[in-house]
Symmetry: D2
Subunit: 340 residues, 4 copies
């Protein structure tokens, strides 16, 4: 069993079928095809409000291009120190943002807290031309430590952003896992809470390669589409991005996949804790960060279980990521298999 | 029949099968999987020299990222006025090149001529800090007008580049069509002629979405890979790029597809000229640029033939692009079908 | 006599006195001092409309920063092929413009013609996301070949810009020479003709180092000031920029200096034509481009006259630039001195 | 008395005289004049090694352009959180560095400590393409809190940089105050300690507007000069930058001015502490950060003393900056004047 990341998984059958179904017809390029033209309405229905959809092939591209419309070349993006955009996306935010700067702050379990954010923004004394003034806040849902902002917490952050005239971006590489875990409407943790732009991840949750930039502010469309083209992210065979996304939404595949992954993570927590491990945070989505001793880690490895150490949480900490295809039965049987 | 572009075609069966074959196993992300690890050797064998391969999902990304290692932020890229990088890739060259400037020059049928290039580079009087000095030359093979550089012509341009200490880039979005048409070894029109970096297109010739940046100078690997990641083009499920490319090379699929497309274009020329049209250039690859009167254009449209006007060649000029799946029989029957 | 450029001249006495007069008092930095605070009103009075003034120390900075507010990172700046911003300012426009591209077109004596511009903008077929669409037009007054746009010509260009929704920028490194030559109100060739931003040169016309970005659209102030700071162009001892500019305006020093230089250029034309040279264009400002044979060029050099060959006009062409301190008497005596 | 900054001071007489002395002759532009040509040798003599000198008009430009040659667009610059480049130069480092990122760390009194730096660099786990890897370390001498790196401390930091293959940059906006305070040879705290590039400030210490980028690695010249031109910082009347710098070096004016300012700061500390204030740090250069109660602050303001609150040190903290022209007698008499 491979828990090293959700990106080690293959395409799920429904999405592969959707790709294959494209293989006997011609279609206009660059988003002019029929399926691409359906994206705005499909996602507008999903979110219960008018949205613009700009699909790209990677989560990093979705974040960088999605953010680029929310911050000027002279401005700052406030995020958690552990944010993916701050730690794992090279100098991409400055690249797509024309120099825009990341301003990292702290918070428990990789979450920004509304009060801390409020204080940071209030105490940030702009000195005219000289400083980098915050223009945008970015949060990740679920977070880089597998934790979750509740509906109230997202609204609280949205309120602080409104108070300080900040735009709000959500990195939703694992947005499906968040909605599944919260059992809420997708609107509840996005536009209703003040989110301007969401990167809506599909790649980690069963797609081949597609994450959709969801613009809740239609004014952002032109900049976002121009930025996508200039970055080399406008697909000629754009229908293959659309086909993946439409299959992902159909019959709630996105939520079904995410629920499965979340359940697998919970089962894995139980199994590993039965073996003596201790979760660093309760696994709220599909990621489990857990402390365990060397013996247990060795036994798991001997049993062919793949996972990664996670030094930023502790020397004895590890990350396990479940996915749409994680074998829950085998996971539940782990205590027996290992200790037996 | 849709001749509006080769990007309206679906994935060819062999490549779809290769994607589907990935669907039952886990694989390491970001290029660490087994198939991705085979790319360097597969392409090194193809080209008969050691190359580094950096795959991305679009031809524009391949051009922009591939070029970015060949020019400084203060330098110029000499290309034909009609080059795709100059006309159709937004401000991408300056974006990935940190400000690098395109210097467009003229030449017949979208081709740079060695003598013209030599003269331009010789007469370009650098005025120290003030001007943008050429650092790189970029050619497209086959060109934006469907024409072809012969092996000798590429070598002549490579010689001029060497003389003036220019790097040489080749936009090979339709490289397969060029090799098929010239019936040469891929080395003959690339590294043996002085090409430093090639964008090796697959998307237009049967793939879902993959073009490979081929680095003939291994020193360029680090910059190119960093530039790819920063641009958001590093796939997590990188194996799907690799699987497409390996299937594309296997049993010369890339050349078989290209030969088919080239033959279709020749058949199309014959059919349309039989109907009174006149090719603007002999179709050397899979693109046909042709003059015809309104009546013929109307008849073709009435028959369900899709194609595009091409104003930069003339008011009565049109582009037809053939592909790996163009129906040669139907094409040959066109005169009968239209005039019948 | 040194005619190689107007930038070989020293500071004129009035401006040196203004700098020296600052030397016994403290003053707030970064533009908060009293003299800096007077700039907006002084220039508003000069132009007969409300303007914002953003001074910098070089003409290139004035052009690059002034332009940066008029074009997006995806857009184009239409200018003459010979424009200073296109030929002599490195990759600065793309740098400050986040990738913005220069689109050079032709015209006689380094001038854009309204009809040509109209045609270019009309025939520029935007292809959606792919191309670089013009967003701004830039003209130089007086031009790089020492010629002049008449009041009507500037208005005609402004009209074309309005028609095509282009912003209009004027490189006024030698704006004073233009106003002196046209004997017009500065408003007549700027905001009344649709100019959005002007770089108002002083360095070449007697200052130590100051060119002012004049914003006729106050909405541009924030971007322009942010861009100036980020580029490292915000002076701490800003009062020294202000002192130069206020002295430059006082008692029409800027026009007196320019008239002198223009007159010197006319006298120089007469003297050199008396010696057998032939002006390439009538010298409308302070620059003289002239054809002459090797013998005459040699005789002038032997007499200690300094000037530069100008290959872009012809193999026998030379540039002579007069300035606020050119010795008109000696210039008039040249025929006698040389042939005598 | 105005202690709000050293940039509120006028030009010192020697430098004004040098500017005035330029006023009766022509000189080649862009650094080709005689005085500019003397800069390399003058500074090479000063530093006891071959250096290249690239003068610009502002300290921010010197930092941004000087740094730009030491870091790639994908790399990081490690500096103190309070560094001027991190707090007070907008997004300039990313701008000139093509996206390069600032990585702020902590340390007492705005100083980086070698051990902390070593630990940061050692524990920074590069994750391949994804993270921003440090490439350069930047320190400020004297620091943003008026403190000083000893000769040994600079060498210790240089050693850590060498160990981790980092380039080393020194922001020397107040370098003269540091050399004066340490009474060392300028080489001792620069190239002998491993500094690659120094911004050598003159503006705050008596000049009109000039800070020199000193390159101890001659390989950096081309990039630095290209970067300067592209940023609009190459002066046409470059001799005025050179004249200021040569006058600044002549007869150790730079050290004499700095010693005066340092002595004034010490006298000011004594006077204010006699009045009940308490220095936050011992004033090692020309800046004094001091705690005092509202009564004392009010009395000083009533007496016409100008100074600034400094919240980042504390709610009762203030900054006083002395300069080349600070009246030491009046400063020493302050206790009597205020309390009398």
């Amino acid at each position: 069993m491979n828990f090293s990341s959700d990106n080690v998984t293959p395409i799920c059958p429904e999405i592969l079928a959707a790709i294959a179904a494209e293989s006997d017809r011609a279609a206009l390029p660059y988003g002019a095809d029929g399926q691409s033209q359906m994206l705005d309405s499909a996602f507008s229905e999903l979110f219960g409000t008018d949205v613009c959809v700009v699909p790209v092939a990677t989560g990093t591209a979705a974040n960088l291009i999605g953010l680029s419309g929310l911050v000027s070349p002279f401005g700052g993006v406030v995020c958690h120190h552990h944010a993916h955009i701050n730690k794992t996306e090279s100098t991409g935010v400055a690249f797509y943002g024309g120099g825009a700067k990341l301003l990292g702050i702290d918070g428990p379990s990789a979450k920004l807290e509304a009060a801390t954010l409020d204080q940071f923004l209030a105490s940030h004394s702009p000195n005219g031309m000289h400083s980098v003034d915050p223009e945008c806040v970015a949060i990740t849902q679920t977070t880089e430590f597998g934790t979750l902002y509740s509906v109230d917490e997202v609204h609280a952050i949205g309120g602080v952003c409104q108070k300080h005239k900040m735009r709000l971006f959500m990195d939703g590489a694992r947005f499906a896992n968040a909605v599944a875990a919260l059992d809420c409407h997708p609107a509840d943790i996005t536009w209703k809470a003040g989110v301007d732009v969401l990167s809506f991840g599909a790649t980690k949750n069963g797609a081949l390669a597609v994450d959709a930039i969801i613009l809740f502010d239609p004014e952002l469309r032109r900049h976002t589409e121009k930025s996508r083209k200039r970055g080399g992210h406008l697909f000629s065979k754009h229908r293959y991005l659309a086909a993946q996304l439409l299959a992902y939404l159909k019959d709630d595949l996105w939520l079904r996949n995410a629920r499965h992954a979340n359940n697998a993570a919970k089962a894995l927590q139980q199994s590993l804790e039965a073996l003596g491990a201790k979760a660093a945070f309760p696994p709220e989505g599909n990621e489990l960060f857990i402390h365990m001793n060397d013996d247990l880690a060795g036994s798991l490895r001997d049993a062919g279980i793949v996972f990664r150490p996670w030094a930023s949480i502790g020397p004895d900490a590890y990350r396990f990521v479940c996915a749409w295809n994680s074998p829950i039965d085998l996971i539940s049987d782990l205590p027996k298999a290992i200790s037996g």
